[in-house]
């Protein structure tokens, strides 16, 4: 039963979330904005379209978005992003972190494969940021593992845990680090502008410039599902802190998690509308903030560990 609910959410929620972000951004800009379900319409439109594949590309270009999608779906079973999802597979933080790295590797080789100068150009930027970002991701997950002396994420997030005041800073710092990380990871403002199509500044958009039709549909769905997982994980971490005061039922926890995700979406779109994009050489500084929060999470985990 629970697993069916999870699968349904995995299928329908990601694109709705993208729709919500666009709608919120439009509202912040005094516009009416597109329909909430516009991303679904776009997806169906893309599915109906033909694919244009560069003659210079190999099978890697076609196959890597599909593998990426498979990996993200696999990831959705590895991460405790919903309060009710149960461990289908043995979940380990290192597995999660390196699956993310593998995912990025697939995106990169798919972008380089076409030989488009803009793709390879932004790929090199993406890799630069990825190298800086990876320690932040690893350390933030590691903080949780240190605190619980366990690398199983389902054990860490299980609601049967006795929750003490000590864990609050660890979870909050973990969520903050993850939020900053995901801004870079998902190429949102102020690091990259998802709306821009300026050849020389876009990072994420340039990497998927050559994709079209079904291929692009898969890439966009993968992107939104990954964003969904990250946001729900942050939200679960924050919701988990509240277990000290109230012991909530699974249903209430789910509602709370969804509500926190909505707040995070508001925050994300607010930042996107009201901040100026950073200069390219200032982005490492931004990543340094994420890394700082990860370090703080690790320190507080070490100090508060019972």
């Amino acid at each position: 039963m629970m697993i069916i609910a999870q699968i349904i959410l995995t299928i329908f929620l990601p694109l709705l979330m993208i729709g919500i972000i666009r709608k919120l951004k439009a509202l912040f800009q005094n516009r009416t904005g597109p329909n909430l379900f516009q991303p679904y319409f776009n997806l169906f439109k893309l599915l109906k379209k033909n694919q244009v594949i560069s003659q210079d590309s190999s099978f890697v270009f076609i196959i890597s978005p599909i593998i990426s999608l498979g990996l993200v779906i696999f990831l959705s079973f590895l991460l405790p992003w919903l309060p009710f999802n149960k461990a289908v597979f043995e979940s380990n933080i290192f597995l999660v972190v390196y699956l993310l790295a593998l995912l990025r590797f697939l995106t990169i080789i798919s972008a380089i494969d076409t030989g488009s100068p803009f793709s390879s150009f932004s790929t090199s930027k993406e890799v630069t940021f990825a190298v800086l970002l990876e320690p932040a991701v690893i350390l933030s997950f590691l903080a949780l593992a240190i605190f619980y002396k366990n690398t199983n994420l389902f054990y860490i997030f299980s609601s049967n845990q006795t929750v003490t005041l000590n864990q609050i800073p660890v979870f909050i710092l973990f969520a903050m680090s993850l939020f900053l990380t995901s801004i870079v990871e998902f190429s949102r403002a102020p690091v990259d502008d998802p709306n821009t199509h300026l050849e020389l500044t876009m990072i994420h958009e340039a990497m998927i410039l050559e994709n079209s039709g079904l291929n692009l549909a898969i890439v966009e769905y993968t992107y939104s599902l990954k964003l969904l997982l990250f946001l729900f994980l942050m939200s679960s971490a924050l919701a988990h802190c509240l277990l000290i005061w109230w012991h909530l039922s699974v249903f209430a926890m789910t509602c709370l998690t969804v509500f926190i995700v909505f707040l995070l979406l508001i925050l994300l779109s607010f930042i996107e509308v009201f901040t100026v994009k950073l200069s390219f050489n200032k982005i490492p500084n931004f990543i340094a903030y994420a890394l700082t929060f990860s370090f703080l999470a690790v320190f507080s985990a070490i100090v508060n560990r019972s």
Partner: protein, 492 residues
């Protein structure tokens, strides 16, 4: 405006011109030819509000010794001269193609009076090629990822730093200057109005001023007021548009959307004033084509509404630290380089050159002292943005003044059928980009023999190439936007 005619021998032209341009009050306006057998140099005197037209006949067959080595302002003019007239400047530092980059179009110059076949070996359509380790070249355009005009940028980079930028234009060459000589003078105004859509008013105003000089007529005072109104509204509209584009490029979408929305109010004012939301065909020789008293009240109301909303946003921009920080110190163009390459308009004023043709040449009602010329000294992207903002404030002041003091009367004068023969008409207008010059030369029977147009972009494209050096590649779109240049105005 008075026109002084001077004759200078072609071999002395370089020295004389260099001496002239050393003086602080002289500027090189235009360097062109009528039919390929002479050089016409326009020197603007900013102190005496007059124009010197220097005529130098070419003695040698279609060639002369180049001026660019001693007068850098002339380099782009000479390149165009060679393409359009086949006049070969000897020892030009780099005689690269400007308009005809396609090898099929290389040989025959379109504006020369006789068939001249250019030597294929002298025609250069190459790019500067820098070969070294870690140097790579990014070609951008002419088809861009957005709805903008075509232009090709070849950017040579080391890592993220631009070391050289070369700009290739000419994709929009439509033969405007030649077409102008083939149609009756009364119709040139319509063509002038559409050569660059965003400079519609300024172009038709420059055309009208030049034609009126050739007809020896004075326009009524009401006409001057209405023209000022239109010119300033166009400036307002385009400055808001440029600021909005600036915000889009740095992903500040909140302001970008708001400014784009407010620009709609300017369009409504334009609709009320000219009958067209894009200022089309409003100004013609002898007056304006539409005059409606009732609408001025509507314009006044809209102006007040716009002022309330816009000023709030502009002050917000000026006080927003993240905005100013992002634009500070990028795309720098030093004052001396801006002087050497004859920058005009917003770009010149941001680099500390106090030059605004509105205060020098008659083009409407601009009483001295009504506005202070906006000036910044840093010459960076922030400087150009600030100059635009101050000019918006100035435009509001001028518009309010004009609307308060507008005279009643006729806004149209009857025109003669013939232009005066063998004469020069010069129209100089400060468009929102800068100094715009229309030069009309008539033949024995009063027909237009040569119509030369110098868009401000013609000067400023070189400035962009210089300003981008040593900047980050990802900052190039911002630098480009801050110059806000026209492709169609340059290509003609």
């Amino acid at each position: 405006m008075t026109i002084n005619h001077v004759n200078i021998q072609i071999e002395n032209l370089g020295n004389e011109l260099k001496k002239l341009l050393k003086q602080p009050n002289k500027r090189l306006g235009l360097l062109t030819s009528i039919d390929g057998s002479q050089l016409i140099t326009l020197v603007l005197n900013t102190d005496s509000h007059s124009v010197d037209v220097i005529n130098s006949d070419l003695l040698d067959k279609n060639s002369y010794s180049s001026l660019s080595a001693s007068i850098p302002q002339a380099h782009w003019f000479e390149r165009t001269l060679y393409e359009m007239f086949g006049v070969f400047p000897k020892h030009h530092p780099r005689l690269k193609s400007v308009i005809f980059n396609d090898s099929n179009n290389l040989i025959l110059p379109p504006l020369a009076n006789k068939t001249i076949i250019r030597d294929v070996n002298q025609v250069d359509t190459s790019f500067i090629n820098i070969e070294a380790e870690n140097v790579y070249i990014v070609p951008v355009g002419p088809v861009h990822a957005g709805i903008i005009e075509p232009g090709h940028f070849r950017i040579t980079c080391v890592g993220e730093t631009i070391i050289n930028l070369e700009i290739r234009l000419g994709f929009l060459h439509r033969g405007v200057e030649k077409q102008m000589t083939k149609i009756p003078y009364a119709k040139t105004s319509y063509l002038a109005s559409s050569i660059a859509s965003d400079t519609s008013i300024a172009n038709s105003l420059a055309n009208a001023i030049a034609i009126e000089q050739l007809l020896n007529i004075d326009v009524s005072e009401r006409t001057l007021y209405l023209r000022t109104l239109a010119l300033e509204l166009e400036r307002l509209s385009m400055h808001i548009n440029d600021l909005s584009g600036m915000c889009t490029d740095i992903a500040y979408s909140a302001l970008a959307m708001e400014l784009a929305r407010l620009r709609g109010i300017v369009f409504n004012m334009a609709d009320n004033l000219t009958g067209s939301r894009y200022f089309r065909y409003f100004i013609g020789p002898g007056g304006v084509r539409k005059d409606c008293d009732k609408n001025l009240i509507v314009i006044k109301k809209l102006l007040k509404e716009l002022k309330n909303k816009l000023f709030k946003i502009l002050f917000h921009i000026l006080n927003n630290f993240s905005f100013t920080q992002r634009l500070d110190n990028i795309g720098k163009l030093s004052r001396s380089l801006a002087n050497d390459f004859n920058m005009v308009g917003v770009v010149a004023r941001a680099s500390g050159i106090q030059y605004d043709t509105r205060s020098i040449f008659n083009q409407g009602i601009y009483p001295q002292g009504i506005f202070k010329i906006a000036k910044e000294n840093n010459g960076d992207v922030l400087g150009r943005t600030k100059v635009r903002i101050v000019e918006i404030f100035n435009s509001f002041e001028i518009l309010e003044n004009v609307l308060d003091n507008i005279k009643s009367g006729d806004a149209k004068v009857d025109l003669n059928h013939k232009l005066s023969p063998n004469s020069f008409g010069v129209g100089i207008v400060e468009s929102f980009r800068g100094e715009l010059i229309h030069l009309i030369v008539t033949d024995n029977s009063g027909f237009i023999k040569r119509y030369s147009i110098k868009d401000p972009s013609f000067n400023n494209w070189t400035g962009l190439a210089i300003a981008c050096r040593n900047n980050l590649l990802s900052d190039f779109p911002i630098c480009n936007k801050s110059f806000g240049l026209s492709y169609s105005g340059h290509d003609l």
